[in-house]
């Protein structure tokens, strides 16, 4: 704040305007100091550490060591869960958003659904894990109901809430609402006139979606899916609450590495984090690029 005041007194004197740009940057020094100290430097030094050996000299060995079976499998499980929950969330979230925006449902449903989505997309972490243990755990309500009503034990099929599918279904609880929240405004951009024009020219529903609506919204659709992907890839608390450390996903491995150096090599830990940043970075970068593309049509 104090920096802000300094720059202020300088720029008030010469009757405002945009001119004293040489001092104007002082006003945002606190922000940049914060960004450097608590975002860029910590992450940057980790990334540098990924390319150093124990003595601090350059090496690619850490990156190479990521390709050992146990680490690769943790990346693979993480990627699979993220992909499954992102795709599931995208499909169901799209249908839900389309139903409420374009489906001709009563008007009051939309704000109600949006509020619920706001809550559900923020209901994550450990409480969400507890909720799904109570729902689909061995003595969970749904598990028991299925046994009592239909004599169908989901645990006899090999399902477990602590497994791949259990975690994916749990992640969907915040993935679907997130998709709805981001996609609903994009669907608003589909103009009614386009549909009417298509109808007047004899186009059916399939025709409209395939040749008009989908080409317009696919960047938003794909972009949001990538956002969901990165969202679940970096998540840990839900998985940790659900499975303890029994499911070998990359965030849980990294958590164990930070707490107790389970890989017996600090620099390999940095490489593990580096790999995660690369994956979330690429999917987020693609999301931002696709979003700017989709804004061309959807205003």
């Amino acid at each position: 704040m104090s920096v802000n005041l300094q720059s202020a007194s300088v720029s008030v004197a010469p009757k405002a305007g945009l001119s004293p740009a040489s001092w104007a940057w002082l006003g945002i020094t606190p922000f940049f100091a914060f960004a450097i100290l608590f975002l860029i430097l910590p992450t940057g030094l980790l990334m540098i550490g990924a390319f150093q050996d124990a003595n601090g000299s350059f090496t690619l060995a850490n990156i190479v060591h990521l390709f050992q079976p146990s680490i690769l499998s943790s990346y693979r499980i993480s990627l699979e869960i993220s992909a499954a929950s992102a795709l599931g969330g995208a499909v169901i979230g799209f249908l839900l958003a389309a139903a409420v925006v374009l489906g001709g449902l009563p008007k009051w449903l939309r704000p109600t659904l949006m509020t619920f989505c706001g809550v559900a997309s923020n209901f994550a972490g450990l409480p969400l894990a507890f909720a799904f243990i109570a729902t689909l755990g061995r003595t969970g309500l749904v598990t028991l109901l299925l046994v009592n009503l239909f004599d169908f034990n989901i645990y006899a099929t090999g399902f477990s809430v602590l497994s791949f599918w259990g975690l994916t279904i749990t992640y969907l609880y915040f993935q679907i609402p997130l998709m709805v929240l981001i996609l609903a405004p994009a669907l608003d951009g589909l103009k009614r006139e386009w549909r009417e024009a298509s109808d007047n020219l004899g186009g059916g529903s399939v025709h409209y979606w395939r040749h008009i609506a989908f080409p317009v919204i696919w960047p938003a659709l794909l972009g949001t899916t990538l956002l969901l992907f990165a969202n679940s890839f970096g998540a840990i608390a839900t998985a940790y609450g659900l499975t303890g450390s029994s499911l070998n996903i990359v965030t849980i491995l990294l958590y164990a590495q930070i707490q107790g150096d389970v890989l017996h090599d600090p620099n390999l830990g940095f490489a593990l984090a580096f790999g995660m940043i690369v994956i979330t970075g690429v999917s987020n970068g693609a999301y931002i690029w696709l979003r700017t593309r989709s804004e061309r049509w959807l205003r």
Binding site: A35, L37, L41, G125
Partner: protein, 263 residues
């Protein structure tokens, strides 16, 4: 549009079931503590647990501190960008999006590396500085939401005219920021604050790895050791989230009173 209706209702029904069934199940589960009958025993045990009170209180204080620090950091920056340095807007926006790219666990890993007890700035050496580090970490996590909320708020008012009017009346910069700009974007700040609160209150990763007695690690501890109490905690956490989102609705509405949404 009629042909779509059935499908629309079906999609909505699936969504409603997916949203409510886990909540009902969790609530039912939380009542099962006493064998053979439903009771609120799990809630009584949880609410009477001194560690619940301590950790929840700790997280509330940390969340409030995060909101204050975040507001003091974001509001002047967004204001200054809007008024003086629009050229830097893409840079600042990019930085505020970084916490979405860098997972929280990686960020705290970085903190532990450069602020550990043998580093140049040993923040984890003392309790107060570790608390401070946690707060800064939470400010970073909340940055995308806080910045976006404040930036939207600033765009909806005429920052330049307000500033010039205040200047010509002889107001200094702190006065402009705190008595002119801040009250005008209060709904936006409140929206960002409640969202921040919802994110911070049950956060697990950072609090756990920085070894702070926060609500998130307490949740984990109960989850690993008890059967029915976690469900009661999940219901409580759900209501906290619900309250935060409800308050955003209440206060956010004022923010959009005169903007495109209601026109």
């Amino acid at each position: 549009m009629k042909r779509n209706r059935f499908g629309a209702w079906l999609a909505l029904a699936v969504g409603v079931i997916y949203f409510f069934v886990p909540l009902i199940a969790t609530f039912e589960f939380s009542l099962r503590l006493r064998r053979g009958t439903y009771s609120f025993d799990a809630y009584e045990i949880v609410l009477a647990d001194p560690r619940f009170q301590q950790t929840f209180g700790y997280s509330v204080v940390v969340a409030l501190a995060t909101i204050v620090v975040g507001t003091l950091l974001v509001v002047p920056t967004a204001y200054w960008i809007q008024l003086r340095l629009p050229r830097l807007r893409p840079v600042v926006e990019f930085i505020t999006l970084l916490p979405l790219v860098i997972p929280a666990i990686v960020l705290v890993y970085g903190y532990l590396r450069i602020y550990n007890s043998s580093s140049w700035l040993p923040m984890t050496n003392a309790v107060w500085s570790t608390n401070l580090l946690l707060i800064f970490g939470y400010v970073a996590l909340a940055l995308p939401y806080m910045y976006r909320a404040v930036d939207t708020g600033l765009r909806s008012i005429d920052v330049r005219s307000l500033t010039e009017a205040a200047e010509s009346l002889g107001a200094g910069w702190p006065k402009i920021l705190f008595t002119v700009i801040l009250p005008n974007i209060r709904p936006a700040i409140l929206s960002g604050s409640f969202l921040t609160f919802a994110i911070v209150i049950g956060e697990f990763t950072m609090a756990s790895l920085l070894n702070r007695p926060a609500f998130g690690p307490y949740l984990q501890l109960v989850g690993a050791n008890r059967a029915y109490e976690p469900s009661a905690l999940a219901i409580i956490a759900f209501f906290v989230t619900w309250a935060c989102m409800g308050l955003i609705q209440v206060f956010g509405r004022g923010a959009r009173g005169s903007s495109a949404d209601t026109r």
